[in-house]
């Protein structure tokens, strides 16, 4: 199970957190502004490896934090 270290509350189990999604950008190669909007609204990187993402400490200090997680093993790095 995933444990996440909150800067305020320390190491807490994942159940206390809400997943806020990865920090994502639109690939440079998409140049058409409309296509960029579609990509931003709908598409995901869905990376196999390390992603940076936002989590919300719902059942704790209720603050957002950013962490890096390896999606291959589901562990915080």
């Amino acid at each position: 199970m995933l444990w996440i270290t909150c800067p305020t509350c320390g190491r807490r189990p994942v159940e206390e957190y809400g997943f806020g999604g990865e920090l994502r950008g639109v690939p440079e190669r998409i140049t058409d502004p409309v296509e960029r909007d579609v990509d931003y609204a709908w598409m995901y990187d869905n990376l196999h490896g390390i992603t940076s993402e936002r989590w919300f400490h719902q059942a704790g200090c209720r603050r957002w934090l950013t962490l890096r997680r390896d999606t291959t093993t589901d562990t915080v790095v």
Binding site: V38, Y44, L47
Partner: protein, 402 residues
């Protein structure tokens, strides 16, 4: 003769050729069904199905085997009802017994909002010609005598929707039945052949780069579960998909019959009995995307607690094993099938937690698309292009997720 001996006798494996008309990536249900229907219905047998490990090793062999059509949008109801109908006659068509058994599905509601959702589901299903009716707690109790109507005092059953057409089947046997059907028609199924890239000619996809060398193809179809974003990225295609793990577990044999399939959106678990008598229990997928197949004790604890609220008899059973599969959850909780905007590259993906029931219809319709070049009416609403036009097929409520 046990099933493994039987399998060894019937399948004839092939050596890979350098070129095929159609290459399908992913030897799961959808890939093999597409290959089968291409050969059987459209006479296109120069087809290879590439599987990185062994057939059915992915989500086709990890799901909880429920087949149902009580979905929440008309396009999905039509599609899954077609799949349900195909499943009914599939054993005869493929000449292979995969323990298909129609059981009916009871979808419980514990609160007024859930009752409203179930009523809406019934109305929509009936309007689309699928039988789903509201039943009282007493009727639910008659269908499933083991059900505790007070829900352990915490989740009282206010009512339920009943979908008599729902069924279960042995999932890996479905995969093997399609593989056998396809191989008899001359389709090559190549196991332990991992795709590590796509061959490109300009923008067009002209084949696949595999661990066993390049294979050229007229059409490449990705029927991958789990790693589809990686495959699509080889063709510079972006998908609205995140891959989440989903856990399930199975108990030891329960000697009495547990007749229907039990499902519950509020508790996020679904329970059914296998042909061997074991009780299979599945849950919600994990919120954070990951490719990890590691199941956890915390899942077991929370899921078992929920299931025993409804079915106290489960307390006396032992857990045999637990596992996880990785689900491609699309942004609108509906599948994505068809063209990608890149010539020669098609996808059937976004099968999330609802792929097993869709295997026959998905395969049949994708085969028709590949063979004729025209998108069949059933597939049309589920194209990747729907996101660019904001015509999302939002159907989260009927997938048993929250």
């Amino acid at each position: 003769m046990n099933e493994f001996v039987e399998r060894r006798l019937t399948l004839q494996w092939h050596e890979p050729k350098r070129s095929y008309d159609v290459v399908i990536i992913g030897g799961g249900g959808h890939g093999l069904a597409t290959a089968y229907y291409l050969a059987a219905r459209h006479g296109i047998a120069n087809v290879a199905v590439l599987e990185a490990r062994y057939i059915g090793s992915g989500n086709s062999g990890r799901n909880t085997t429920i087949i149902r059509a009580n979905y929440g949008i008309p396009e999905a109801v039509r599609f899954y009802q077609h799949s349900l109908d195909l499943y009914r006659t599939l054993e005869a068509e493929l000449g292979c017994w995969f323990m298909h058994s129609t059981k009916g599905l009871v979808w419980l509601a514990h609160t007024e909002p859930a009752m409203r959702a179930e009523r809406a589901r019934c109305l929509l299903n009936i309007a689309c010609g699928v039988e789903t009716v509201m039943i009282t707690p007493q009727e639910a109790s008659e269908l499933c005598p083991q059900l505790d109507l007070s829900g352990g005092g915490r989740y009282p059953v206010l009512g339920a929707s009943y979908h008599p057409g729902a069924a279960t089947a042995r999932h890996d046997r479905v995969v093997w039945a399609y593989a056998q059907g396809a191989m008899r028609q001359g389709v090559h199924v190549l196991q332990n052949t991992e795709v590590i890239g796509l061959l490109r000619d300009g923008a067009r996809v002209t084949g696949v780069e595999t661990s066993a060398g390049p294979i050229s193809a007229g059409v490449v179809l990705s029927a991958v579960g789990g790693n589809v974003s990686r495959i699509a990225a080889y063709a510079d295609v972006r998908l609205p998909i995140r891959t989440h793990p989903l856990h399930a577990f199975v108990t030891n044999e329960y000697a009495q019959a547990f007749a229907p399939i039990l499902s519950d959106t509020e508790l996020l678990c679904y329970v059914s009995q296998t042909a061997r008598g074991e009780i299979v229990i599945g849950a919600e997928y994990e919120r954070q995307p990951s490719y990890s197949l590691q199941s956890s004790f915390s899942f077991l604890q929370s899921c078992a607690a929920k299931a025993t609220h409804l079915l106290p008899f489960l307390r006396d059973l032992r857990i045999l094993r637990q596992w996880a599969g990785i689900c491609d959850i699309s942004a609108d909780f509906s599948p994505i099938m068809g063209e990608t905007g890149v010539d020669g590259f098609l996808v059937t993906t976004g099968w999330g937690t609802w792929g097993f029931k869709a295997i026959p219809a998905g395969g049949e319709q994708m085969a028709e698309l590949i063979a004729t070049g025209r998108t069949p009416a059933l597939l049309d609403p589920f194209g990747l292009g729907r996101f660019a036009t904001d015509h999302a097929m939002a159907d989260q409520g009927s997938t048993g997720t929250r």
